[in-house]
Symmetry: C2
DNA sequence: ATGTAAAATTCTGTATACAGAATACTTGAT
DNA sequence: ATCAAGTATTCTGTATACAGAATTTTACAT
């Protein structure tokens, strides 16, 4: 997003294969980001007119993007009253985490069976980089790599459905985790858990990885619980 | 859907509370049905012009509905080339079933803990009705009740996220199962499994229910495997 | 007959226009 | 000052209009 907030899609940056950028996708991901980052707060109404003007698009594609996000669960539609950013209760978050935990446990088992050595090495690389960010204290980058690692482990399962469901829950929870800044000792604990995860993955110990992922998620919830 | 296929939404049928029917929802569910029932075949392109005319709506709300379904995973968007009914490979279906199985196993455990006696009685009622349909040989009604039972068990968990994910997978798989007509002996086996399920639920034996649900799904897959 | 290039058509993507619902504002009564 | 009713405005929902991409058809050469 540039300073004005306007979308400059189809700005064909330099050479390379002509990549077809589609306005729809651009709007969707921008809105998603705005929701996740809290620029659009929970419960806030998505004003078609002003939001469209801000993004520099007309209402038609904007509305389509909103419908898309509604199906994704980030936005709520109310008849004759448009759309608003979906508000999650503590119970909602807890529910999501229960499901996410189950999915990650499954992913852990499958990843150890199906992941290639090269792929596992890639996850390890992400992990090492994350640890580096932890040492330096780069919270944002740490956070992103953390997500990337979980996503990568899920991807090892080669199960598109699992990836999709996981991604959906992760997206919804991003907004929460984005807020949840942990203290130093909790942060250290989280890193230690990740250390265990990678070890289990490299040992291809599915049930251990599964267990750690489950525990990790429960702990993550404990760590941010107060914020929600 | 009436004979012509046109949507007669906001046709306020008789008295009762004025129910706000929204065109968007109507289009979405109609398209969903058309996809599930195979009226719109996998891979088939969703022609905005003719589809809109057939439903009696303009392209604008139709496109919004299509975007919604795309996010739901029933429809695939291709830039400058519109939308088409998503085609699932055998691997896709298998992937979905793996996830669905995990979710149902989780649901089984939670349902036994959280379901009230009254709710469990309702599931039993659905089951009895389903068995009646089996005896009479009413396949369609049997099929619907079958789905309803699984949905009901998931609902017992009071976990909105779980319900949603389950519903999404179930919707996608409906198209498959709709095709999968089993022979008499396989059908009998499926009914027997359901019998066990209800028994476990009434005994509130979570791990047993979980196990049965898992097995049931694996068997269901075996039963329709050849069709996909 | 077959393959290719150009023209014509069809279809998608986006913007605008218009109607009706919801909301905000004004006015008047108490 | 407070509240109600009526009016004005804003906003959503749907249809239509227009531009450009993709496809099909046609015309022509080999």
């Amino acid at each position: 997003m540039d300073e004005t907030g306007r979308l400059d899609w189809k700005a064909e940056g330099g050479p390379g294969p002509i990549q077809r950028t589609v306005l729809h996708d651009t709007i969707v991901s921008h809105l998603r980001d705005m929701i996740i980052e809290g620029i659009l707060e929970p419960g806030m109404r998505l004003h078609e007119g002003q939001l469209g003007e801000r993004l520099g698009v007309s209402r038609t594609p904007l509305r389509e993007a909103i419908k898309f996000l509604a199906s994704e669960g980030l936005v709520e539609l109310t008849p004759s009253r448009g759309a608003s950013v979906k508000r999650f209760s503590g119970k909602d978050v807890e529910d999501m985490l229960i499901v996410l935990r189950t999915l990650e446990e499954l992913a852990g088992k499958l990843a150890c069976q199906l992941g290639s050595d090269a792929e596992i090495a890639e996850v390890r690389a992400l992990h090492d980089e994350m640890v580096r960010c932890y040492r330096v204290g780069d919270r944002l980058q740490y956070y992103k790599l953390n997500q990337a690692i979980h996503t990568a482990i899920v991807r090892l399962t080669q199960n598109s459905s699992l990836s999709e469901m996981h991604h959906m829950l992760q997206t919804r929870l991003k907004r929460i985790r984005f807020i949840g800044h942990e203290g130093p000792e909790k942060w250290a604990a989280a890193v230690a858990e990740h250390e265990e995860m990678i070890a289990a993955l490299e040992a291809r110990d599915g049930s251990r990885l599964s267990r750690i992922l489950g525990r990790h998620l429960v702990n993550a919830w404990e760590r941010v619980r107060d914020v929600v």
